[in-house]
Amino acid sequence: MTRILLKNKLDECIAAWRSAGFSVLAPVKRNDLSRFEEVERSADMALDLQITERTIKDHFFPQTEPLLRYTIKKHDLDSQEMLPPDIRRVFFGVRPCDASGLAIDDPLFGWDYKDQYWFKRRDNAVIVTIACTTSDDFCMCTSVKLAPDSTKGSDVMLRPLQNGTGWQVEALSDRGTALLDSVSSILQESSETPAPPASVPVKFDVDKAMEWLADPANFESHFWKEISLRCIGCGSCTFLCPTCHCFDIQDEGDTYTGIRRKNWDSCSFTMFTMHTSGHNPRNTQSTRWRQRIMHKFNYYRGKFGVNSCSGCGRCTRQCPVDMGITETLQAISNLQG
């Protein structure tokens, strides 16, 4: 016997969490875009999506975020930090790959000092993940050694029931346990079995690819030029990636006052490494694409012991020219033989 949450009880659940002070965020399709937004009822959710176009990273590391406000005075400058508010949030219906993405980025934001902008939100969030029972052409979690029912980064795991009426629920952390406890009266005991997780084909041998990437001889390989020929240098793969985390700092304001902001930046952009002198160490798209792959499958692992890819497949799914990590890593693992 396990506990289940029936779909027809979901609204009660949302109401309970909301009355307990949580904001509930779930996949929503609105204005021609699917992403996590606050919901008040289950009817607003788009849980049948394979995956939202935008990731939940947006809610922990927003595309643009105020860091501090400054006021210019005659002889000095006043500044006030603008930390995110203490809002407790439930992310309901997260895909395992997105949840894993958060876990992959945690060490990055905490290795030398704890980035409050990230951790204030992380600590106030409960990630309720729904395991995948389907996948699409671009899913590749299994290729990066994750799974459609991976629990990484999740506080609660929901496994869709075979009969489609609801989910088997499992708390994976204290926060998850507390969240489920708060709705224990809504949950039921049941012997219904969960549907099997999706079978996501392994598309490349990540170990082989990592070996090739680790070989300094390949850094200048012609391969990089060929594979990136059609890359147009936009930032859509990085900005839709659940683990990409590069940012830029910008001051925006007028004569009297302004805001210092943290904005997403992308290694795909020419300007990313442009020096003031005009020199650009990564002056071709191939070197920029190489950086992205190396960062994800070599450097990041070197520093934090984990690859910076959770296999969501968005990079390929939404690439304007049909590139992506899958194609590149496939090609690399083939090269390695």
């Binding site: 210019i72 005075k73 005659k74 002889h75 304001g253 007028d254 004569t255 009297y256 005009g278």
Partner: protein
């Protein structure tokens, strides 16, 4: 760090009565970067300027804002003061709190608040001003005069007499222009030829004047002080250097029945010809389109006749490139083609002629040797009707403007006719008699009172032929009834219009023109001689209809402007010019297309081995006038305008 001094002027009571200057000073003093802010009754006065200068020195100011009147009023004053105190004069801005604030508002609080905002905004601008140096341009002290009519001749003579070289370019075979066609001139009835010819000769003989007749300007490049003009010298087929002007060739030329342009078709010329007997230079040209030799390779009688072998059928057009520092445009006018008035029968009836035809008929050197004979049968006309405003002041069919000279020359024609045909009668249909000018009204009165010019106020609706007479049907507005006059000849006072190629020519040399094609002056009242293009000046009827005295006066004015320009070896220009950022220019050449001054070129950027790695736009600061059109066109934001940079304007807006 910026150290800005702000000086708030009371302008007596002009500002202080509506702007709380103490408040303004208090607010501005708190503004970041403001080192000192003081107020005073008259900063433009000597002690006021001294205060500014002292503050600049004592506080090592990096910028100055004077909150006072319009920069159009005192920008130069305070620039000079800054310069004298050792601050680059372009590190100054004027906050206009008088014309655009205290004088136009009625609420002191509102006006003060506005004055504070205006001043702050300019403090932010001045923080980003750059030290600029006036652009120094060497001046080629040689002028070109385009057009060899009376205006051009006058301008050339004035400049030449002051010791500067002049190139006088005329597209016809002779200089002289329309004035040489005129019989007598109003209001003195001087013989036009008699007063003009000596000037023509003086011009051609002047050591400082190079006359290039039968030549046309092909292109003008460059800018004030440094123009390069390409002139096409059309092949004359007669060697200028050797021809003595004996005229034997003209006598012998077998092609004799070509209607003479100079005689308005009332007389004939030959294929090798000078336009008129007093032509300067007195060297004929061969009209290639009419010459038998050029048509079929035979004849060459002129060549055989010429005793000094001055005929050269192999001559080609040549292009000469001439460097000049200033240009006078004196290209004159044309007479409007009056066939647009079908009802007047011009072109249909031989005896309906234009005023210019009449000049030729009345001219002693004309086809009738000064006898008034009508074109159809050579008889002396006994009744002549003159129709004024045959084209002018007629928005529907002709031109909207008044051609200015027609009232006068019509009165003159009536007088000349009366003097020559004592028993003749004249009728002049007119709308108004416009006779403003020295001796002008007296002149028209004389025509009426002494020479019995018959003025009829009213318009002519139709001219038609009946029983060998021209019937002029019109209305006498003063009597309020229709009139019909039997005439032997009808003279139309046709409109003065721009040369047919005026617009094209204006584009070629880069000056503006109005809806008709008259060239635009820089300012109708205050800069009537200059064009918007520095270094190019106007004289005569190419700007607007003018009589001879006005043309001559303007020509002398243009000459004076040029002599002023030539009084210096170098020119100083405002350094408000555009500058391209080589590293970001995408080379789309949109700026090149947009620039009204052709001031932008393409420039190659090469690596150290001389290989071209990039082509970018490049602004010629001598040509650039600083409008900034290119700056706002540039998509990559690769052009900026000194004095009004992107940073300055951004700061100005962000301070509001």
């Amino acid at each position: 760090m910026a150290k800005i001094g702000v000086f708030v002027c009371h302008c007596g009571e002009n500002i202080a009565s509506m702007v709380d200057t103490a408040n303004l000073v208090a607010a501005i003093s708190e503004h970041p970067g403001v080192e000192i802010c003081t107020e005073y009754k008259y900063f433009c006065s000597d002690p006021g300027q001294e205060t500014v200068k002292r503050a600049v020195r004592e506080h090592n100011l990096t910028g100055v804002v004077v909150a006072a009147c319009s920069p159009r009023m005192h920008e130069q004053t305070f620039r000079k003061a800054c310069a004298e105190a050792g601050l680059n004069p372009y590190m100054l801005e004027l906050a206009n709190i008088r014309e655009q604030c205290s004088w136009v508002h009625t609420d002191k609080d509102e006006a003060t608040a506005k004055a504070i905002e205006i001043t702050r905004s300019l403090v932010e601008k001045v923080k980003r001003n750059n030290e600029l140096q006036p652009i120094s341009v060497p001046v080629t002290r040689r002028a070109m005069v385009i057009g060899g009519g009376i205006a051009g001749i006058q301008a050339a003579l004035d400049i030449a007499s002051a010791g500067r070289e002049v190139v006088l370019v005329e597209r016809e075979p002779s200089i002289g222009g329309h004035m040489s066609q005129i019989s007598e001139t109003f209001p003195t009835l001087d013989c036009s030829q008699c007063i003009l010819t000596p000037r023509m000769v003086e011009a051609v003989q002047h050591p400082n004047i190079t006359v290039m007749t039968y030549s046309e300007v092909e292109s003008v490049d460059g800018y004030i002080g440094n123009f390069t003009v390409k002139v096409r010298r059309k092949a004359r087929y007669v060697r200028m250097e050797t021809c003595t002007g004996c005229g034997d060739c003209i006598q012998k030329c077998p092609v004799k029945k070509i209607p003479s342009e100079f005689e308005c078709g009332l007389g004939n010329r030959t294929a090798i010809y000078t336009p008129f007997a007093q032509a300067v230079p007195n060297v004929p040209v061969i009209d290639r389109s009419r010459c038998t030799y050029f048509k079929n390779g035979k004849c060459a009688i002129c060549k055989k006749t010429c005793q000094i072998d001055s005929i050269d059928f192999d001559q080609q057009d040549t292009i000469e490139s001439i460097e000049v520092g200033a240009i006078v445009v004196a290209t004159g006018f044309q007479v409007q083609d009056t066939s647009l008035y079908g009802e007047y029968g011009y072109g249909r009836y031989k005896d309906v002629i234009t005023g210019l035809h009449f000049e030729r008929l009345a001219s002693a050197s004309g086809p009738t040797a000064g006898k008034i004979k009508r074109p159809s049968d050579g008889k002396e006309p006994e009744t002549v009707v003159f129709i004024q405003c045959a084209g002018s002041r007629d928005a529907a069919k002709g031109v909207k403007y008044c051609s200015k000279i027609c009232c006068m020359y019509t009165a003159k024609h009536a007088m000349l006719y009366a003097h020559k045909v004592h028993h003749g009668t004249t009728k002049i249909f007119y709308m108004d008699i416009r006779a403003a000018g020295k001796g002008y009204d007296e002149f028209t009165r004389r025509a009426i009172e002494e020479d019995q010019a018959g003025y009829v106020r009213g318009r002519v609706s139709k001219v038609f032929e009946q029983n060998g007479k021209l019937i002029v049907r019109g209305v006498d507005m003063l009597l309020g009834r229709p009139v019909e006059v039997e005439a032997d000849m009808v003279v139309l006072a046709t409109a003065m219009v721009p040369q047919p190629d005026a617009k094209e020519f204006a584009k070629k040399i880069g000056i503006g023109y109005d809806e008709y094609g008259f060239f635009n002056e820089a300012h109708l009242k205050l800069r009537p001689v200059e064009t918007a293009t520095a270094g190019i000046y106007l004289a005569g009827a190419c700007q607007s209809p003018k009589d001879i005295p006005d043309s001559v006066a303007q020509a002398s004015a243009a000459a004076a402007k040029i002599l002023g320009l030539f009084s210096r070896e170098h020119l100083e220009r405002e350094p408000v010019v555009a500058l391209v950022s080589d590293s970001t220019c995408a080379g789309c050449w949109g700026c090149v297309t947009a620039c009204p001054y052709n001031a932008i070129d393409r420039r190659d950027i090469t690596d150290r081995n001389g290989n071209v790695i990039k082509r970018v736009a490049s602004v010629n600061p001598g040509l650039c006038q600083g409008c900034g059109t290119c700056v706002s066109f540039c998509r990559s934001n690769s052009i900026d305008l000194a004095g009004f940079t992107e940073k300055q304007i951004f700061a100005e807006v962000m301070a509001l």
